[in-house]
């Protein structure tokens, strides 16, 4: 799932995923929380990690400072 638009802004689904990470979650928990299919969550998390908005800690994913910053924009 492409998360970052060509102009650097986030897609609606990316915002939904980032907003779900107020506490660290596993991909399965994010899928349940957002009602987005698990395969899309896994793909989106790769994009969001590459963009620097999310970090993986063990089997959970959490917002980075950059992720927090872009959400507040």
């Amino acid at each position: 799932m492409a998360c970052v638009n060509p102009d650097g802004t986030l897609t609606e689904s990316a915002i939904k995923i980032l907003e779900s990470l107020s506490v660290p979650k596993s991909p399965e928990e994010i899928a349940n929380f957002t009602d987005v299919p698990l395969f899309k969550i896994r793909s989106a998390l790769r994009d969001l990690i590459n963009a620097g908005f999310v970090n993986q800690v063990n089997d959970k994913y959490k917002l980075t400072d950059e992720g927090l910053k872009i959400l507040k924009k």
């Binding site: 799932m1 492409a2 998360c3 299919p37 698990l38 395969f39 899309k40 896994r42 793909s43 989106a44 790769r46 994009d47």
Partner: protein
């Protein structure tokens, strides 16, 4: 000499890939834990494929109830795919909600043997690969360019495979959910004698059916 083409077979691990799709870059491993129907169509903006896409979308909700995802593929660009699915929504009123692989370099098509060069060297045939949650290939269907698939049969196939998984039984010809299933045949003489005393619908020692 022509290079030998290796096609995946039923019971083998599904070949892994990463591909550009209408829903971003997806990997086969993203589907771990759910069933997947990976299917190819010859080309965007063609009539038979359009009817198939509408029919696949028609069973998508039923598939999701069964923990099955859909992933299309053709040798077209992602822009062509986007234009086509938008056209289907605009002209036919059907929103295509599953992703479609833009396999311009034929990487996934070649990996799965979706191209039948005797029929076309530039298009994928109508291939269907049913991949289970452990990413093993469980069924393969091929149709030629000229003939649209029976999409209802694909749903029936999923029901039969999942029934086998759940109850360890086989399903007879034209089986539908609710019909009797086949009890695995006994494989020793003692088991055959025992089978004849069971309360199944017994045609003979090797052929028993039961309700589930």
């Amino acid at each position: 000499m022509e290079q030998q083409r290796i096609m995946p077979r039923i019971g083998e691990p599904a070949p892994q890939f990463e591909a550009v799709t209408t829903h971003g870059t997806l990997r086969l491993e993203d589907y771990k834990g759910s069933w997947l129907i990976l299917f190819s169509h010859p080309a965007d903006f063609t009539p038979v494929c359009t009817t198939e896409f509408i029919a696949f979308q028609g069973i998508y909700d039923e598939l999701k109830k069964r923990n099955v995802e859909l992933l299309g593929l053709s040798i077209d660009s992602v822009y062509s795919h986007i234009a086509w699915v938008r056209n289907i929504e605009e002209k036919m009123g059907v929103k295509i909600k599953f992703p479609v692989i833009a396999d311009l370099n034929k990487e996934v098509a070649s990996l799965y043997g979706m191209i039948m060069p005797g029929e076309s060297k530039t298009e994928t045939s109508r291939a269907v690969f049913v991949i289970d949650p452990e990413q093993k290939i469980r069924a393969i269907i091929y149709y030629p360019l000229t003939t649209g698939r029976n999409i209802d049969e694909i749903l029936r196939l999923i029901d039969a495979l999942q029934t086998h998984e759940k109850y360890k039984v086989a399903t007879p010809a034209n089986w539908r959910p609710g019909d009797e299933v086949i009890v695995p045949p006994p494989n020793t003489q003692e088991m055959a004698e025992q089978r004849m005393k069971e309360k199944y619908d017994i045609k003979d020692w090797y052929f028993s059916k039961k309700k589930i």
